[in-house]
Symmetry: T
Subunit: 72 residues, 12 copies
């Protein structure tokens, strides 16, 4: 990549869900998004939410993020 | 669906337009988006706008919303 | 187009990069996005950023924008 | 009420859910909140969301709102 | 109107109040604003609020909106 | 005023400047705005800024606020 | 208090009203909230508004704030 | 739960503090809030902050979050 | 102008449209607004948008801005 | 100063704390910041917070502000 | 520290980068910032981003945060 | 640079002023900031404002931006 050359990126909003933690939920979304999109370059977290089970434990983290990739 | 299991959702931004009202504009966008995307799960309203006719009547509502669906 | 008739638009987030300036970065993104999407109708700038070269000159502008098109 | 006299209000965040529309979801939340709180004075909509059924129809509106009442 | 030609619009912030619902409050503001301003072109909702009566019913909707018109 | 009856308000953005303090800057703007507009009903502070003199003292407060009045 | 030990705080949104000024409206809300809640630890101003009397004078300040206290 | 049926939820703002990490601070707040409120359904992170000890180590994470539960 | 003396400014929201670029759209709005308002002192850009022609070229820039002037 | 000539300003974020009120907390930050920075030109309030003593009185105001000065 | 006494804090914006996780990226920034600034008191997370490697794994977390310290 | 390795960046807020246009005001701030800081890596535009001369012409652009550099 040379700075200054015309390039275009696209950002797509996804939500990764995982019972294991915030980083794991991010990786879940990145892995799944990469299957149907191009190779991803970076992500930006938009929101962190989660579900609370009947036992009062956080049983999943839901991380809303944007993933970006170059439109070649 | 079991909480805590890895899942990924995608959110897409659409604008529904209708002369009949806000709820109708939402349904318009949901119906149309479902034709080219997966079965949708939920929506989130981002903005409500509209056009005003020559007679000073609101002649259409434009509702910007995000619709979400699971990436299976 | 007749106001009040049911229509749906989609918005997609892209980033245009150009060494020539902000307007050029916008056009870069619009031109590239139009190749893989429908004919675009309008854009909305979200963010203006850029890279600074070793000589202290802005060597590229990165403009984050949303482009919109009708889902026919 | 006389303007300028010391008074205090409290705001509480609630979510009303209804299948019938946005105004109905607001009324649902107001009616229920009034049962466990003081007489309410006003509301402010924070967010409008909803669920989409298997048939592609919006089957419920979820309106996040703040309701306010005087602490007498 | 030809795209690209120099034009200027003005936006004014108004609040429409109605007991009948959100769309009606919007129309109320549009109708009244048009009397003292130019012919209006579009509106953008900024906030939705309302008052709650002694019987626990929403007795009016207050919709804050911007209305826009061309400065000819 | 009867709740539920159609009414319309207008909001105008003004900046009050005073060397005496924040409340005084608000009153400055309200007093001046009332001369060219209708009788004002309420205000909402948007921003508080100020200028710093050569002696390192805040020598004026600039309060950006919206003032509202009924369009009768 | 020892840093790092598990603790939980709660935040509650209140509006203090006073004819005397912004600081007085804050104190009004803090004093009243402390009667029905735990001992408060801190506050955060959310919004500053007010009412304007028939004589064009600000006759009350309405300060929206969050007050916080520890859930022991 | 059947979609479309009238329901109401309440959201409460709490701050969980823990020396062990972000997820632990969330769980701390959820566990404590559940003692004085109803069974919680979900949470939304609002802010992540923390304290830094004399040795330059982050010695606690303070996570501001909203927890939600149904008003039955 | 002497700092600390009571003064009041008004801000008005306008949209300048030009096919030539962002700076030109700003100047378009400033020039037109000055015809019906007082001499303007400064502007603040709120939003940058634009229209895309059938040939995929940005054919106009629409810059939403606030212009301010002193209420003498 | 001549308008249009190249100049650069820097903004720094500081928090002034005072038991005496909001204006005093602003002056506290301005006075202290001026000791280690250049002569300051203006300030912008970002946030107003405070601490509440055991007696339920606001015992200090904490005003987060940005101060600006020219990089000569 | 006695509440109510005049004090001033400064906030500085830094970005910590780490391959190990979000908490580690925060600590990275705090440790480095402390070397060139005063002893830090607290931090506030502004944004969480990261880079995605060729293998589709998140290979670094970039946490934008503000760190604060007292100006003695 | 190797991704995943611990690094820290700092962001500083500056305002570039130029009579020639938005890109020129950005370059003005970057050039001046680089004299007193480390070699800069990127910038992010926060706000675009400007001054209007007596002849109704925009006579300077004021671009508020953040510039970032690595703390080596």
């Amino acid at each position: 990549m040379t700075y200054g050359q015309g390039r275009t990126y696209k950002k797509v909003e996804v939500i990764g869900v995982s019972g294991a933690g915030i980083e794991d939920a991010i990786q879940q979304a990145v892995t799944r998004a990469q299957q149907s999109l191009e190779k991803l370059s970076w992500f930006e977290v938009q929101d962190i939410r989660g579900h609370i089970g009947d036992d009062g434990k956080v049983n999943e983290y839901q991380v809303v993020l944007k993933v970006a990739f170059e439109l070649k």
